[in-house]
Symmetry: C2
């Protein structure tokens, strides 16, 4: 039963490949870490790294890559379209196998404390947050790097770790814990984005729809179609097939049809096996019947 | 990319737990072998072991357990309801990850050759068979232990390995290779087993239905329902959802309804993810998007 945590640090460098590779190299050096993906966006001037490992190794990987980012990135010269406040902007941890949210919070705190030791202010967010205000990353990051020189002086924004003073070179860093998120889009045959938007509003939490669904309507210009673009923030409670069926039901009233769907990025197999179980009406199904689950559990 | 082969040896001992445990212990000793399951049936007087490992380790596990079975089981005293011809009755190998059928056949031949060295006649079967007659295990085993003292003298039943003379204590052994099999049952609301049987005959290969489906109709006495009980012998070509939809279509003509289905034992995740992909109409889906696949591939 190998404990596994996913970590998706975001670094404020997406243009200088040399710097990005030096940061990723810090992770490559660590045995037992699986790099699932890393990609840089030039407009955002930002790199997103997705990696998985044991609690001990993932902590090491997060700390070493953040240390290298603090060394190589100068936030006083950073420009980019994406909101950001630090060289290592955010470090979210997510439980993958045989670990609890609490164990992830422990890891987040140890990483935060270490980064604080480098004179970089650190805020814990989402499930690791120490106050309700800090749960939402957008609230924490509001004002961004430039605004933080003032914001940090307010009593309610005293960092969880590190000095109550902005680090001009490295900015500050948010370290958090969140449940796994599934990005899932449903494509409609209508070119009318208003219809997609109305459907999105009806199926999402805010509109009284499914509790763990965030959704917006988008236009797919090239296909002359539209899309309900969703984040399922707790796929164990609100399943993919529920979102799919709800969108179909709502689409009907506009005479629109679902023409397909997309799963974005990497997802846990359970998020899709739930759909197989539902549509095939499988009785007494257990994840222990999945060969790959058994193989991973044995390790 | 770890190469993995599954092996499901059947031993002709299901009553004496001491003997069964001694045989399984031979496998437990080998590092890197995952025992998925083993179960003994007293009526059959037979134990079925399911294990997975690298080609090198699985070969070792098959040989060592068969050697222990040859030592501890005396076929001249064996009684049981299930057809059998040897102490280690059959040893089928199945590719699980990053191995070809050919590599499995190589392993089967090495295991067969070693067992032959112990003066036990060995027949290669299914995809490892050396003649068309030997493909079907039932044909190979016909006559069983008792009949083999004569059968083995016929030229067409000269063993692939070992002597052309029956081993009175250990019998003979079939070593084979087969693609993974998914056991899948669909339950109907009708108590009329004739309807289930007619549906089975229409959806299976023999009846002109789906190529890789074997099916029979069964009565579920306790539920007062019936079942189409199937083996999907190549789930990559004939998917579970196809079998499910075909049974639904056939049931309609009798006014019968599908009330549920069952997956029996352990199955590869792809066999069920195919159904999620189909019913959710997922575009451009790749198995690389499954977290667990990535984790296993990294090893």
């Amino acid at each position: 039963m190998k404990k596994l945590i996913e970590c998706v640090p975001n670094f404020s460098e997406g243009r200088n490949t040399g710097i990005v590779e030096e940061i990723i190299d810090e992770v490559r050096k660590i045995e037992g870490i699986t790099i699932l993906d890393y990609s840089s966006d030039k407009d955002h001037n930002r790199t997103v790294l997705t990696m998985i490992g044991s609690p001990e190794r993932i902590k090491e990987a997060a700390i070493n890559s953040a240390r290298k980012a603090a060394e190589l990135i100068d936030m006083s010269k950073h420009e980019g379209a994406h909101p950001r406040m630090g060289a290592t902007d955010v470090i979210p941890f997510t439980p993958v196998a045989h670990v609890t949210i609490e164990e992830c919070i422990e890891v987040a705190k140890e990483v935060g404390a270490e980064i604080g030791n480098w004179e970089i202010p650190v805020y814990l967010y989402e499930d690791a947050a120490t106050t309700p205000d800090r749960k939402n990353l957008a609230s924490v990051r509001k004002g961004q790097y430039e605004g933080f020189f003032e914001k940090i002086n307010k009593e309610e924004w005293k960092p969880d770790f590190g000095p109550q003073a902005m680090n001009a070179k490295s900015g500050c860093t948010a370290v958090g814990v969140r449940v796994p998120l599934v990005a899932y889009n449903i494509n409609l045959d209508t070119p009318d984005v208003e219809i997609a938007d109305k459907i999105a509003k009806k199926v999402r939490h805010l509109g009284g729809g499914l509790v763990y669904v965030k959704a917006i309507g988008l236009k797919l210009e090239e296909r002359n179609q539209t899309q309900v673009s969703m984040n399922l923030v707790n796929y164990e409670k609100t399943a993919i097939y529920q979102a799919f069926e709800m969108v179909k039901i709502e689409a009907k009233r506009y005479g629109a049809n679902v023409v397909g769907s997309e799963v974005i990025g990497t997802v846990p197999m359970k998020s899709l096996l739930d759909a197989a179980e539902y549509y095939l009406q499988i009785e007494n199904f257990s994840m222990e019947q999945i060969l790959e689950k058994r193989l991973l559990d044995e390790q």
